[in-house]
């Protein structure tokens, strides 16, 4: 059994605190995705888990063992490095099979496993190449291959698909998912791709500035972000925010409004609010729909047509920039006036401390 437990983990590089007390329990077999802005400490946390970075303070348990001082090779992990770290003097096949070579696995077993990995990664024809003769995406796949050949208890993936094309990425996602089910291994996965995070994760952990902001099932994070940061971070394009003032509040609903916005009622307990409080209102671009009598009056700035959907950048009367994502390929001209509407259940409110009023207890 190899669940993972992190107790108040901390890490500093000299004077720079990078991980500022992370508490996390990961069950055996769970697929956990770390997301967070660039430089927030995801890789560092992974490297601490792997034993490559010493733990400044706190405890790291893998299974029943306190692992702070356990050697990486005894932790039963495999890792895909963000920087790949391929052995440049070995061929792809040798890179794949290196851990097995080290473990003195029989030659046939090694060859079989290497071939399996190559098939999964669609790299059979490249097995004899050296890393320097590969494209960026191919190198990244070698890095993945090296990890999956090992079949460890715990996988650590640091942005393993970032340099792959969309189709391959979908394939790999499936393969990793399959692998996860087959091996029943614990996986910790860092990604910046929202879809990857949403589709792969049993649980998403949102990190920011070395701290856990929120963790939970993907859809819960999307629907009920704990705070402004998570709300802004999960979902792409980003949620639209605007400052609003409380016009009235009672136990079941709050009415807010601002210069930009006609007053709207949000079904929400407003017990702790006073009229005049400043809140932040958030609406996801996806929930906005064009509606000739919609409350949001905007002027189209820029239209990005993705084919299946259309991203509309529009400006409110006050000059605030908002986004709306409309289904399908919609033709709008720059400068055109459009009205948008949203259902009140899709509106989120955040307190002055940034916490989501709907979930804050």
């Amino acid at each position: 059994m190899s669940g993972l437990k992190m107790k108040d983990l901390r890490k500093s590089f000299g004077a720079v605190d990078v991980i500022k007390g992370v508490d996390l329990e990961i069950e055996h077999g769970e697929f956990v995705v770390f997301v967070g802005p660039s430089g927030c400490g995801k890789s560092t946390l992974l490297r601490m888990t792997a034993g490559l970075e010493d733990i400044t303070s706190g405890e790291l348990w893998i299974g029943d063992q306190l692992c702070n001082d356990v050697e990486p090779r005894d932790r039963g992990i495999a890792m895909v490095f963000q920087s790949y770290a391929l052995y440049p003097h070995m061929t792809v096949a040798e890179n794949f099979g290196f851990s097995l070579t080290l473990a003195r696995a029989p030659k046939e077993e090694r060859e079989r496993k290497v071939m399996d990995a190559a098939k999964i990664l669609q790299m059979e024809h490249l097995l004899d190449r050296k890393p320097s003769q590969l494209s960026g995406g191919q190198r990244q796949r070698v890095a993945i291959g090296r990890a999956i050949v090992r079949q460890p208890e715990v996988f650590l993936f640091d942005e393993p698909l970032s340099n792959l094309d969309a189709a391959l990425r979908v394939d790999m996602r499936m393969e990793l998912s399959k692998l996860h089910q087959q091996l029943g291994a614990t996986m910790i996965y860092v990604t910046h791709d929202q879809i990857e995070a949403m589709t792969l994760a049993d649980r998403i952990v949102v990190l920011n500035g070395g701290e856990v902001q929120q963790q939970g099932a993907p859809i819960d994070l999307y629907n009920s972000p704990a705070n402004l940061f998570v709300a802004g971070f999960i979902g792409s394009p980003k949620m639209n925010f605007t400052k609003v003032k409380v016009r009235s509040a009672d136990a079941t609903s709050v009415v807010v409004g601002s210069d930009e916005l006609v007053d709207v009622m949000v079904p929400l307990s407003g017990r702790k609010l006073n009229v005049g409080d400043e809140l932040t209102l958030g609406i996801r671009p996806h929930v906005l729909t064009t509606d000739s009598i919609g409350a949001l009056k905007g002027t189209v700035d820029l239209v990005e047509r993705l084919g299946n959907e259309t991203i509309v950048n529009f400006r409110l009367a006050t000059g605030a920039q908002w986004l709306a994502v409309l289904s399908g390929d919609i033709v709008l001209k720059q400068g055109e006036a459009v009205n948008f509407a949203a259902e009140s259940k899709d509106i989120l409110l955040f307190g002055a401390d940034g916490r989501n009023l709907a979930t804050a207890s």
Binding site: S12, A15, D54, T56
Partner: protein
């Protein structure tokens, strides 16, 4: 050291750093080397330090305190030898560091007959000191030597390279550079080929000329090689006597004597205690110059 201060900030970290590194890079990897080096070099060398305090004929030794050191410092031309030593070391290592780099850059660029040229440059390293010594005494002959004959052809009256008291040391230094630059060159070549091509590509895009590439990419990234060359040739220069011995025997007169040749002469004369004392003095001199240099250079190595 940097690590010590970093550790001081955060006490528990230090021990962990040690533990983690200890498992990755365990100290027992050093044992075989340490055993050979410690037993066969350090141990006898350190025991021999005792003899610097004795009058020692190899057959008998008699404790005489610091008399050897006193006598050593009374060597009539010691001061000049000291100056010569330092000059020699700076001139030879300086030239090797610079010329070696130039040659290495040349010999790593795509050239016809590059392998041949590399061999040519390395060849002097292979020739025994005796051969080098004789060859250059002849080539440097003031009137009949090829060097001066060539100079005469272009109207220059060549100097008496090895026979001029003011020049002999420098002439030997030049020959030492001739002999040793090949060594520096191969070290540099190893350093240059270890620089990933990416950086050159990036700098070409950034608009670097050949010279700027050298200045901003090669030079900083070849530092490991350069520091090796600096340390090895500097200490080598301070210690060198074999070439001086075969070419001038410290002469004319005492003009090209260096510390090491003074010590060597004492050894040749059978003054074993005295020469051990001389070695100790020389060792201290080198240590005073080289150890800080080494620490300085170690700190400047770029790690990737």
């Amino acid at each position: 050291m940097a690590v010590a201060t970093a550790g001081a900030v955060n006490a528990p970290k230090k021990s962990r750093v040690k533990d983690r590194q200890a498992s990755m890079y365990p100290i027992w990897l050093l044992y075989p080397a340490a055993a050979i080096y410690g037993i066969l070099f350090l141990l006898p060398t350190i025991t021999s330090l005792y003899y610097s305090l004795t009058r020692w004929t190899l057959f008998n030794s008699e404790f005489i305190g610091f008399d050897n050191f006193i006598q050593f410092f009374q060597e009539p031309f010691l001061y000049q030898a000291l100056i010569n030593t330092v000059i020699f070391a700076f001139v030879t290592s300086g030239l090797k560091v610079v010329l070696g780099l130039a040659l290495a850059v040349l010999l790593t660029s795509p050239l016809i007959a590059r392998d041949f040229l590399r061999s040519v440059v390395f060849f002097p390293v292979l020739v025994s000191t005796v051969g080098v010594g004789i060859t250059f005494t002849i080539l440097m002959h003031p009137t009949e030597g090829v060097i001066n004959e060539t100079l005469a052809m272009i109207g220059i009256d060549g100097p008496g390279w090895l026979v001029d008291r003011n020049l002999a040391l420098y002439s030997v230094a030049l020959v030492d550079v001739w002999r040793g630059v090949g060594l520096a060159t191969v070290i540099y070549i190893a350093g240059i080929v270890s620089i990933p091509a990416d950086y050159y590509e990036a700098s070409r895009i950034d608009g670097a000329t050949r010279w700027q590439q050298f200045r901003h990419i090669t030079l900083p990234l070849v530092r490991p090689a350069m520091f090796t060359v600096i340390i090895l040739s500097f200490i080598g220069g301070l210690r060198l006597f074999d070439l001086i011995w075969t070419m001038t025997k410290g002469g004319p007169g005492f003009s090209s004597d260096v510390m090491a040749s003074v010590v060597y002469k004492q050894y040749q004369s059978g003054f074993y205690g005295l020469s051990t004392a001389g070695n100790v003095v020389l060792f201290v001199l080198i240590a005073v110059l080289a150890v800080p240099l080494n620490m300085f250079l170690n700190r400047k190595v770029v790690t990737r």
